[in-house]
Amino acid sequence: MTSNIILDPIQFHLTVSRLCYELIENHDDFSESVIIGLQPRGIYLVKRIKSELNRILGEVDIPVGTLDITFYRDDFRRRDIPIAANKTEIDFIIEDKNVILVDDVFYTGRSLRAGLDAMLAFGRPKQVEMLTLIERKYSRHFPLQPDYIGRSVDSLSSQRVEVEWKELNGKDLVKLYTIDA
């Protein structure tokens, strides 16, 4: 298997930073907005976004939570090994708020579909947006699109995109893995 780097650590940081400025353009001081990371991989991006927003805006209070979508997935009993659930932590009201859902990779749209379903169990938001670090183009199974995109990549279904985090893997990197012919 060979791997190509899609984002190196510097590009990674610049991309997260740009995404934050795009968020600020639409959400001002976040007084009417909340950010929710989809478990399991979206939570690292959400933490990074929060600290970057605080660096730019100062110590504004931005409600940030995590949402587990395991029980809302449409592939229950279709996988060889069942997925273990993760923690949901939403200790704020989403009713009438602008919700920004966050995940590291946007691929088929199935996670977002489940995420929307899971999120609605907490109330009726005013508006929902989706932010992703990597968008894999031309691979949607649902008519869904992210609103904020770090980097769009063309990839084959046999390829794999992996986001590595400094706190987990020692370096911030995004790699595209290709199975050798």
């Binding site: 029980f71 229950f76 279709r78 090994i81 993760n86 379903d117 169990a121």
Partner: protein
């Protein structure tokens, strides 16, 4: 590990410590779900479950039904008193008829010990034992351990006193298996006629003096005196039983430490436990009931995940 080692929940004896851990971990998530504004998840929306109650039940039946509904399963309820069982139909025939209507899982309570195990050998469906005679009541034991863990942090090393009608109690047997497996110390307490002769072989202590038992324990699990299973008179009178083995506030206050008091229900107030104890801060009886729904959701979810899609 994200999968149970078993295809049915027939008893605690058939499962492992890792299974219990997985069930508890999953329960944590479902407890979170049932405290949300919308308490329902779509996981089991293509699963049909039959609740077969060949014996009366309120709490367990409602708890299972609620757990199934919160998981979006389709359910059918069956009670023996209003069915063809009265006309002489056998258990296998009754269940096979229900299964031919495309039912995926069976939750069964039955007065005969071993009924769930028997059924699992003869029919092709997932079975959850909701109590089989005087044998096992695994979901009750799991929710009891979960409630202890929630209150005291861990089950390991805790001292649990099970008081009352041990000989007829499926709750006691399942709890002994579950608590031992998790490293708790278990002692049973009651009149000698209500304690099975060789119970020590299960790795438990026996104490005939309730006060001594209470002074030893961290958790007192009071069992119901089962009038429906007392064909022979095993103690002189309810009044005498209440005097010697009933838990009252005076006795609870006389011991020099804080213990938690549990009861699987239904309670005979004034017999095994007095009202002032039931309603005191020591009792976690209603927490047990709440946890029961989440535990049953976890078990249904984990067993359903092993059903192959058609």
């Amino acid at each position: 590990m994200s999968e149970l080692s078993v295809d049915h929940l027939l008893g605690i004896k058939q499962i492992t410590k890792e299974d219990i851990e997985l069930i508890f971990k999953t329960t944590d998530h479902f407890k979170d779900v049932i405290n949300r504004p919308i308490k329902k998840v779509p996981s089991l929306r293509d699963i049909t479950i039959a609740n077969l109650f060949f014996e009366n039940s309120t709490r367990t039946r409602i708890s299972f039904e609620l757990a199934e509904k919160r998981l979006s399963a389709d359910i059918i309820n069956f009670s023996a008193s209003s069915s063809s069982v009265k006309k002489g139909e056998t258990l296998i025939d009754t269940v096979n008829n229900i299964l031919s209507m495309k039912v995926d899982m069976i939750v069964m309570r039955h007065p005969e010990p071993g009924a769930a195990v028997f059924l699992s050998k003869h029919i092709n469906s997932r079975i959850i034992n909701a109590g089989d005679g005087t044998h096992e009541h695994p979901t009750q034991a799991l929710l009891d351990s979960y409630s202890i863990r929630e209150k005291l942090g861990d089950v390991k090393g805790k001292k649990v006193l099970i008081v009352g009608d041990i000989i007829h109690s499926r709750v006691a047997l399942s709890n002994i298996y579950a608590l031992n497996m998790q490293g708790a110390k278990v002692c049973v307490c009651g009149p000698p006629t209500l304690i099975p002769k060789h119970i020590k072989e299960l790795g438990v202590e026996v104490e005939y003096d309730l006060k001594k038992g209470l002074e030893w324990c961290d958790v007192a699990m009071m069992l119901r005196i089962q009038m429906e299973r007392q064909n022979e008179r095993l103690f002189p009178s309810l009044r005498e039983y209440a005097m010697l083995y009933g838990l009252n506030k005076e006795l609870l206050d006389s011991i020099k430490k804080e213990i938690i008091v549990m009861h699987p229900g239904p309670i005979n107030r004034g017999v095994e436990i007095t009202s002032d104890v039931v309603d005191s801060k020591h009792a976690i009886i209603l927490d047990q009931v709440e946890n029961g729904v989440a535990i049953r959701m976890a078990i249904l979810y984990l067993l359903a995940s092993k059903i192959e899609r058609a």
